[in-house]
Structures are given as structure tokens and as C-alpha cells.
């Protein structure tokens, strides 16, 4: 009987250590959804770019070409922004649902810490990427977003499931490889934000979400 109490004590210690330092209501399903949005966005971006290339063969004045390039850049930015908003929105919604189901508060000190530490590298990366667009280093935008996103995940992993760290490292590696394949930015982008998210989200879903529902 005594050893049952000791076992309870140990599990209470583990539970408290986790609960107080990590945000564990992050939903795996939201990872999958983020991946699907990213693939959709990449497909949309791809069709915009090909449409733009097609029209490049027709004879446009220099002025018109510049205007069209600018328009394309804005369209691509809007697609990227749309994907980000959708992914974050779904992530927040599903996490709220999961937190409610588990009787946890969504906005507590551990979720605050997670958000702050996730957004420091992400915001820096976002602004840096906009600056690269500003100066026309288009080929490095996709690799940079992947690397910065990966860094954000590695940083955030200390405050949620540790597995987020591996998602981050995979994205950093992918981003660095992408620097050597100029012109394939969109492909790497779809791999990192799309395929990796879906893989990771599925893994998380089966590991943490499903087990608790049963």
C-alpha cells in the first residue's frame, strides 16, 4: 500500500513540473491543418508565378513589367500572410478546445512564455524577410523564413512538448539546403511548412491527443 503512495507522489511531481513549465495543450491537429494551409498556399503561389511567367513572353513595356512584378510580390505576400493567419487561428482555436477538455486554462504563465519565446525569432525573421524583399534578394526569402521559423520552434520547444525541437531543427536544415537551390524556394517552402507540419502534427496527434481521448 505504501508503495502506491510513493508512486502517486512521483507522478504528482512529474505532473507539476510539466504543468508549471510547459504548455501542453498544444494541439497536434493544428499542426496538420497548418501544413494543409501551407500546401494550399504554395499551390496558389505556384499558379500565380507561372501565370506571371507566361505573360512575360508577351511584349509589355518595361514599365508594365515592373508594375506586374510588384503586383506579384504583393500577391505572394498576401498568400503568405493568409496562410500564417489561418494556421495561427486554427492553432489557437484547437488549443483552446483541447485546454477546455483537459480542464486547463489557456492563457496562463506557461502559454504566455511559449508565445513570447516563439515570436521573438519569428518576428525578427519576418521583418528580416521583408527587408530582403525590399532590396530584391528574392531567392533568399524562402530559405530565411524556413531558418527563422526553425529557430522559433527550437526556442519554443523549451516551453511546450520537447518534440517541437526536432521540427525546428528539420526546418533549419531544410532552409540551409534551400540556400543552395535558388529558384526552388517554393518547393522547399512547401516541404518545410507543408509536409513537415503534416508529418509532425500527425505524430503529435497520435502520441498526445488520441491517447487522452480514449
Amino acid at each position: 500500500m505504501e508503495s502506491k503512495k510513493y508512486l502517486d507522489d512521483i507522478s504528482e511531481i512529474k505532473n507539476m513540473m510539466n504543468k508549471s513549465s510547459r504548455f501542453i495543450s498544444l494541439s497536434g491537429l493544428s499542426g496538420v491543418m497548418a501544413g494543409i494551409y501551407a500546401l494550399g498556399g504554395a499551390w496558389l503561389a505556384h499558379s500565380k508565378i507561372s501565370a506571371d511567367r507566361m505573360s512575360a513572353y508577351s511584349d509589355l513595356s518595361e514599365m508594365e513589367t515592373i508594375l506586374q512584378e510588384r503586383e506579384l510580390t504583393i500577391e505572394l505576400l498576401m498568400i503568405a500572410g493568409g496562410v500564417l493567419v489561418l494556421a495561427l487561428g486554427t492553432g489557437i482555436l484547437l488549443s483552446i478546445r483541447k485546454a477546455k477538455r483537459e480542464g486547463e486554462k489557456i492563457w496562463n504563465h506557461s502559454s504566455k512564455r511559449l508565445v513570447i519565446n516563439f515570436f521573438i525569432p519569428l518576428l525578427a525573421g519576418g521583418l528580416f524577410s521583408i527587408a530582403m524583399l525590399q532590396y530584391g534578394y528574392l531567392s533568399l526569402v524562402a530559405p530565411a523564413t524556413l531558418v527563422f521559423y526553425g529557430l522559433a520552434c527550437v526556442n519554443a520547444s523549451k516551453y511546450t512538448y520537447g518534440d517541437v525541437r526536432y521540427l525546428g531543427i528539420a526546418n533549419i536544415v531544410l532552409g540551409l539546403i534551400a540556400t543552395q537551390f535558388v529558384g526552388y524556394g517554393l518547393f522547399f517552402w512547401a516541404m518545410g511548412f507543408g509536409v513537415l507540419h503534416i508529418l509532425y502534427g500527425t505524430l503529435m496527434y497520435y502520441r498526445y491527443d488520441r491517447a487522452k481521448q480514449d
Binding site: E2, S3, Y6, L7, D9, I10, E12, I13, K14, M16, M17, K19, S20, S21, K105, N108, H109
Partner: protein, 96 residues
């Protein structure tokens, strides 16, 4: 000497065990954070933190954030060591 001797009576309560667990992995915790995490009442939590403070396992700092009083707890070095010993003892006991 039996392993039971390493079981620390100061940690032999769910709330005190919880306080120490939180302070092992966080630099500090304030009163409300502990209250929320442990689901304890004000009086209950206060008496347990006092007991741990008396044993010099935790340090209490009172300060003001704006006009609100804020009580902050940190684990002392000896508190961390004692708690580690306690966990080791628990693990060995269930390992048997």
C-alpha cells in the same frame, strides 16, 4: 540505514510536494501562480509555504508590482538538494 530514512517528512504532503516541484523547474513562482497550479486555498497555501520557508527550503520575497503586493518564491540551494534526495528515495522505493 534503510531508504525510508531518506524520505523527507517536510515533503510528505501533496501541496508541499507540488510547491517544490514547481520551484525545481521555474526560477521563481508567485503566490497566485502556485495557487492556480495546485488548486489550494490562500490559507492552505500560506501555511505550507511557511513550513517550507522555516526549513529554509524556499525563499520568500515580498515586493510591489505597481500598487499590488506580490509574493515571490524561489527554491534555495539546500531545498533543491533535499528535494532531489527525496525524489531519489521515492524512486528507489518503487523500484523495489
Amino acid at each position: 540505514m534503510s531508504i525510508i530514512d531518506n524520505i523527507n517528512k517536510a515533503f510528505d504532503h501533496r501541496i508541499r510536494l507540488g510547491i517544490m516541484s514547481v520551484l525545481m523547474v521555474n526560477d521563481y513562482a508567485d503566490f497566485n501562480m502556485l495557487k492556480e497550479l495546485l488548486g489550494a486555498t490562500d490559507g492552505n497555501l500560506a501555511s505550507h509555504t511557511k513550513a517550507l520557508e522555516k526549513a529554509a527550503y524556499i525563499k520568500v520575497e515580498k515586493q510591489f508590482i505597481g500598487r499590488k503586493p506580490n509574493t515571490r518564491y524561489t527554491a534555495t540551494k539546500s531545498g533543491k538538494e533535499a528535494f532531489k534526495k527525496h525524489i531519489d528515495a521515492l524512486e528507489r522505493l518503487i523500484g523495489k
